[in-house]
Structures are given as C-alpha cells and as structure tokens.
C-alpha cells in the first residue's frame, strides 16, 4: 500500500473549480484527501510540490499505438511509458492497427495489455475500417471500447455514418469522426494556399475537412447521437462546431498542438515530420483554432500521437506517411503556446487536457476529488527547457519540435497512486523523498544533456 503526500502545490481541479495551494494525499491507488497542512502519515512518501502545479493526470483522447502490427514503431507498453513521461495517465487508443481493433477480443487485448497508464481502446466504427458494415458495437462497448472511430480514414458513405451514429447512441458511446472528403482532398499532402502554390506540393483544401464536418454535424443533429470531431484544423470547422453547439447539437471536438503552433508556411521546408492529416493550415486558421480554444468551442486538446519509423519518414515529402508523435509534448506545447501567450489560463489548460476529454469519453479521470483514481500530474510551469530526441521515450522520434525551447514540463506522474514517471534531476535531486528537507535551488538544466 503506497501513500504519497504532495505538499504545498497549486492544486488545480477543473472538475470542481479548485485552484489554490493545497496538500494532496494519495493512498492505495486513490485520492484520499486534500486540504491545508495535511498530517503526514508515518509511512507516506513526501513530495515537495512548492511552486508546482498539481493537476489531475492528463487524458489524451487521440493516440495511435502501433500494436498490433507495427511494434517496431510503438507498442502499448512503450506508448504508455511515453504517456507517463508526458503526464498522461489515461489515453484513448485509435483502432487503426493491423489488424484493426474491431472485435471484442482485440479490445480486451489492448485494454489489458501491460502498461504504465490506463489505455482505453477505441473500437472501429466499421468492420475492417472499410466503411461498409457496422462493428458489433454493443459487445465492443461491453469489452471496454470507450468510443468508435475509423480514424485515419473517414466513413465515406453518409448512410453508413448515419447508422453508426444511431447505433452508437444506443450503446451509449460517441462516434469520433475523422472528417475528410477524400475525393476533394484528392491525395493532397499539404494545405491549399499560397504556401502550396509555391511549394508545388499537391494541395488539400480546407473545404475537404469542412464539408465532412458539416455532414457529420447534420447527421448528429438528425439522429440526436453524440459526435466528437477529431483533429479540427480549420477556421471553418471551428465555426461549424460553434454554430452546432449553439443549435444544441451533441457535438464536441478536439484539436492538436500542431494546429495552434505550426502553419503551412513551415511545410515549405519539406520536413516530413510536418506531414500530418489534416495538414497544417494557414495563419488565419491557426488564429481561429486559438480563438476556438479560448471561447470553449474546442473541448479538448489531444496529441494525435502517430509514431512512424525514421525509415518511413526519411523519404520524399509526398511519400511520407502522415503523422507526428505528441504524447510527451502535449502539455509543454499547450503551456508554451497558449498559457504563456495568455490565450488561456492554467486551469483552462488542465480542463482541455484532462477533465473535458475524460467526460467526453466517460472515463474515471480528470478530477482530484477524494475517491477518484490516484492519477496525478505534477507540472513545473516555469521550467524552460529544450526538447532533444534523446529525451523522447516513444519508440519513434518523428517530432518537428525536437530542438524547440519549451516552457513548462511534467516532473512527476502518478498512475493509480503509483509513481509512473519521476523527473530524475529535478529540484537538484529526487522529486520524491521520504523526508521533508527543502530542495536545493533548482536550475533549468535540460535533463540528460
């Protein structure tokens, strides 16, 4: 039985609006109590969280683990370790593996795999992700599927999408839509705009996303089912979701850090780590995404963590598979680009990264209320550091942010009350200690450099 007392941190819990300096006691896998000056149980580990943010463990609702099929790129275990390194204690795994997760036994395989954090399987919407026949959603939900998605490829037929929404609503799960009109996208590899005109790369217009978002919103409205739009990237999509919400349609959406940090002009470097789907958009889209995050239109920030081997990415731009890793940079990119710039405050960041995605997925996470699972992220919001490839624990290193200077970093992750990740050199020594000595003056030392 592990007891951990986190002392003197800024405790942020968006589930009940808490934002104050409080101690937090985690006992036997769950939040035991919180308050000022909690008595140290004799056998408890003490964490001095002074100057740190103590938040519910992050919930990344859009992750690609490559197991089964491409274990060279990521396994469930390696992805979960990367998650813990990034403060993510619950992740939702997309089903576009090989074979895809479209049967109860595969759902159980993902759910029960050895992992440092909670892995919640998302099951395929259609059998084999082919967009034709619905999966056995009731049994998949019973086996542990938290949502259904054919992410990576859109459900092309409006009829199939309609039936999927209706059926998923019956089993009480949302459909997560990869909204893309592939005919209009026409195998494009970058956003259509001046940058694509100059770069000569095949363009994909914003309309390819927005037409599909419109369709899916209309179907959600018509069926009353719950729709979650994945990786929203354009100004038009944000506006469509904003209006749908105003109309009372049960739609939620997420965006990813790369859609508020990078734009299509960056793609002119032909760096294949910048090839993502949907593509990096124009400056005006980036501004609209930030506005959507600020005003609450966008519910969640997810990584769309998509590991790819170096061999697969060291090719011509249009031959590279889309996707970048992101589990470990989810928080730092949010703090660096949104919190530091004043677009949102830290409590709103925690809501976007934890509380809200937990409620969309209907999982036990995103709160530090007594009795809740002992999933905690301790964040140093003032740590300026440089991301190096060696620091990344994911099996794949396909991040365009390697070399970037970031502000804010997770220093301790508790998953079900146990230490899942602990910053080694933080605070001039161990972050977790069994005594209460004040830590030495911390220096901003890039870890392992």
């Amino acid at each position: 039985m592990t007891k951990i007392l986190l002392r003197g941190g800024r405790l942020i819990d968006p589930s009940d609006g808490t934002d104050e300096t409080l101690d937090l006691l985690v006992v036997d896998g769950a939040i035991a109590s919180r308050g000022s000056g909690i008595e140290r149980p004799s056998d408890a580990l003490i964490v001095d969280a002074t100057g740190k943010v103590v938040a519910p463990g992050l919930v990344d609702m859009h992750v690609h683990l490559r197991e089964p099929g491409r274990e060279d790129e990521e396994t469930i275990a390696s992805g979960a370790a990367a998650a813990a390194h990034g403060g993510v204690t619950s992740l939702a795994a997309m089903p576009n593996t090989d074979p895809p997760i479209d049967t109860p036994s595969w759902v159980e395989y993902v759910k029960n795999a050895e992992a440092a954090v909670r892995v919640h399987p998302i099951a395929a919407t259609t059998v084999g992700r082919k967009g034709e026949n619905l999966t056995e959603m009731a049994e998949l939900a019973e086996a542990g599927a938290v949502a259904f998605s054919d992410d990576g490829s859109p459900v092309r037929s409006a009829l199939v999408m309609r039936r999927a929404l209706e059926y998923a609503a019956m089993v009480g799960r949302p459909i997560i839509s990869h909204s893309e009109d592939t005919d209009l996208a026409a195998n494009g590899v970058m956003n259509e705009g001046l940058a694509s005109t100059i770069a000569g790369l095949k363009p994909v217009p914003a309309a390819a996303e927005e037409i599909a978002v419109s369709r899916d919103i209309i179907l959600a409205g018509a069926t009353g089912a719950r729709l979650h739009v994945a990786h929203v990237s354009t100004a038009g999509s944000v506006e469509l979701v904003r209006r749908a919400k105003a109309d009372g349609i049960a739609v939620t959406c997420e965006t990813c850090p790369h859609y508020f940090t990078l734009n299509d002009n960056d793609v002119r470097s032909y760096d294949t780590n910048l090839r993502v789907n949907p593509p990096l958009r124009g400056e005006a889209d980036v501004a609209a995404i930030v506005r959507g995050i600020s005003d609450g239109t966008i519910d969640a920030i997810a990584s769309d963590h998509a590991p790819h081997s170096i061999e697969e990415k060291q090719v011509e731009f249009d031959a590279a598979p889309p996707g970048m890793i992101g589990l470990e940079t989810l928080l730092p990119l949010t703090t660096t680009h949104l919190v530091r710039k004043g677009a949102i405050d830290l409590p709103r960041a925690v809501e976007l990264l934890s509380t809200r995605p937990a409620s969309i997925l209907g999982i036990e996470a995103g709160t530090l209320a007594p009795g809740a699972p002992g999933d905690v992220a301790v964040i140093d919001p003032d740590w300026t550091w440089k991301l190096s490839g060696d620091w990344i624990r994911s099996k794949s290193k396909n991040s365009p942010f390697v070399g970037a200077t970031l502000l804010g970093r997770v220093v301790l992750t508790l998953s079900r009350g146990e230490i899942a990740f602990e910053e080694e050199r933080h605070a001039g020594g161990s972050a977790v200690a069994d005594h209460q000595e004040a830590p030495a003056e911390r220096q901003d030392i890039p870890v392992r450099s």
Binding site: A186, E192, G193, L194, S196, T197, I198, A199, G200, L201, P203, S269, Y270, E311, Q314, V315, E316, F317, D318, A319
Partner: protein
C-alpha cells in the same frame, strides 16, 4: 585559354553550394549565371566545343523521371567542360521495389561524386537529398515545384533578344498549376524586374498565386496583346482525367496559339516553349516554326546555361576545399 581565369577576373557573385530553385536567388546571382553562360555560349560556336575547365570533376545525372532534353542538355554541358559524367535513370518503380531515395543517393555518393543533377517527381526531393549527402545538388526539376535551369535558359534567351528584362512584359500561358517551369520563371523574372502575367484555364491556376504580384487572367487576348514574350507551356494529355479540362479540343480553342492569335500580339513579341511541344494543341506548327519562335535558341542556350551552373557550383566546391586542411599533404612523401 584557361576559361576559369578569364572569368575569375570578373565580379562573380555566386556562393551557393546547391541550385535547388530560383526562389530567394538574388538578381546579381542570376546575372552572374547569365553572364557566365554568355561566355560559354561562344564556346559552343567554336569548331572545338570543349574546354578543360572541369577536368577531374565527377557529375552524376540522377533522373528519377523520364526526360530526354534536359538530361541530354546537362550531359552535353558537362562534357563540354570535360567533367566525368554518369547517367543514372531510375524509374519510379525501382524506388517502389524498396530502395529509398536516400539509399540511392548515398550509394552514388560513396562513388565520390562531386555534383548530382537531379530530376524527381516529388517536390522537395532535391532539398531532402541536400540534407543527406555532401555533393552539390542541381535541381533539374522537382515535381511541380521548380526547374531553375529551364527558367535560367528562358531568361538568357529573353535577355539575348530583348537586351534586358527590366519592365518587359512576360506572359506565361497554360497549365500554371502543375508547372515547375512557371514557378522558377516567376522568381527569376521578378528578380530581373519583368512584369509577369499568368494565363490559363481557371482549373489549372494555383490558388493565391496573385499574391506573388503577378497579373492573373483567363482571357487570352488580354494576356498576349501587350506582351513582349509569350512563354507557352506544354499541356499534358492526362489533365483531361483529373477533370481539369473537358477536352484538349476546347483547350486549343480557348488557349491555343495559332497564326490568328499571333496577329493579336505585338509584332516583335517572342514565342517561347520549354518543350516538348504538343503540336496543334497549345501551339500551331506554323507558329512553332515561325519567325517569332525562339524555341530552338532556348535549346542551344540551355547547354550554355547549364555549363555556367555546373561551373559556378564546382568553383564554390573547389574554393571550399582549399580552405580545408590539406589531407593529401600528410600522405605525400
């Protein structure tokens, strides 16, 4: 006698290791290339069309896409300069068989090649290569991105006929969207102060191109009537398939240049084409072979321009080598 010495006395403003495109290439750099090419152009009219300038320099022509004239033009340019040349024609299918561009290139580099002249269907492929190997890269066309030597030979031909390009009106006509020739021409023409008009069907016009300070129109007459140069692009038959064009017949009717259209142009306007020509589609045969046409001059000038580029890039490599410690000195007795 020594060509390098003749040129060395002049102000040569070229310090680039690679020629990946004309975007960002300064006016002085372009003029250096054109002036250098003018000197090489004289060589081509000599009875012995060869100079020993690049003896010992090894150049590989790495063509991942079928090309006849550009590859021949480069090969001839390299041979006229006495470089050792290798031709590597990789079909895209061999890439599909498993060998990556990086591996292909590294294998070639292991053979101690100084310069890679590269044609590839993927935009950015030469940029990718330049990050992975030490040889200088000359872009001989990368997808719909750039084709800098084609633009340079176009500029050379225009300058030869018009004197200079400042204030001259140049119209580029045809499939603007898919053309690497357009993009390179655009940067080069702007650098030299020309006014550019792009004309073609709306489906073949890339978005937001007007932001590059060019005139964009779908009206052929408007595009050609006051032009000093009309540069006509090849229209590819495949463009009917992606529903870009209803038919080549209608394309010819709307945008084809024939004798009647020539009558709308200024009497001294030049007609150019990067080749190969679809006779009777974008250009009528009698116009292609007519007195306004400088199409064959472009081909001749292409060799001179490519000699200039290969020479200037080699010159930079030689200069860099001199600055490095003399490794051979240690093994010499």
């Amino acid at each position: 006698m020594c060509f390098a010495q003749c040129l060395g006395e002049e102000q040569v403003s070229w310090t680039r290791k690679h020629l990946l495109g004309l975007e960002g290439v300064h006016r002085d750099e372009i003029l250096t290339i054109l002036d250098t090419a003018a000197r090489f152009r004289e060589v081509l009219d000599r009875p012995v069309k060869k100079v020993p300038t690049l003896r010992g320099v090894t150049i590989v022509n790495l063509f991942f896409e079928p090309s006849t004239r550009t590859r021949m033009s480069f090969e001839l340019a390299e041979k006229r300069l006495s470089a050792d040349t290798l031709n590597f024609s990789a079909s895209t299918s061999s890439v599909k068989k498993g060998e990556t561009l990086r591996d292909t290139a590294r294998n070639i580099e292991a053979m101690k090649v100084d310069i890679v002249v590269m044609r590839h269907s993927a935009p950015g492929a030469p940029h990718f290569l330049s990050r992975h190997i030490d040889a200088s890269i000359i872009n001989a066309g990368d997808g719909a991105h750039e084709h800098p030597t084609q633009a340079l030979l176009d500029l050379f031909t225009m300058r030869e006929r018009l004197g200079g390009l400042g204030g001259k009106r140049v119209t580029i006509l045809g499939d603007i969207r898919h053309s690497r020739v357009v993009r390179s021409n655009l940067w080069g023409l702007k650098a030299l102060g020309a006014e550019v008009t792009l004309c073609g069907p709306s489906t073949l016009m890339p978005v937001e191109v007007e932001q590059l300070e060019v005139r964009v129109t779908t009206e052929l007459r408007e595009a050609i009537e006051d032009a000093d140069v009309v540069n006509i692009l090849r229209i590819q038959r495949e463009r009917q398939d992606g529903c870009f064009l209803p038919s080549l017949r209608e394309y010819t009717k709307l945008f084809g240049i024939d004798r009647e259209r020539v009558a709308d142009m200024r009497p001294d306007a030049l007609i150019m084409h990067p080749g190969p020509i679809n006779r009777g589609v974008e250009l009528a045969p009698d116009v292609a072979d007519g007195e306004r046409s400088v199409i064959l001059d472009q081909v001749t000038n292409g060799v001179a321009v490519r000699m200039a580029i290969v020479y200037l890039v080699s010159r930079i490599r030689a200069a860099e080598r001199i600055e490095e410690p003399e490794i051979l000195a240690e093994v010499k007795p």
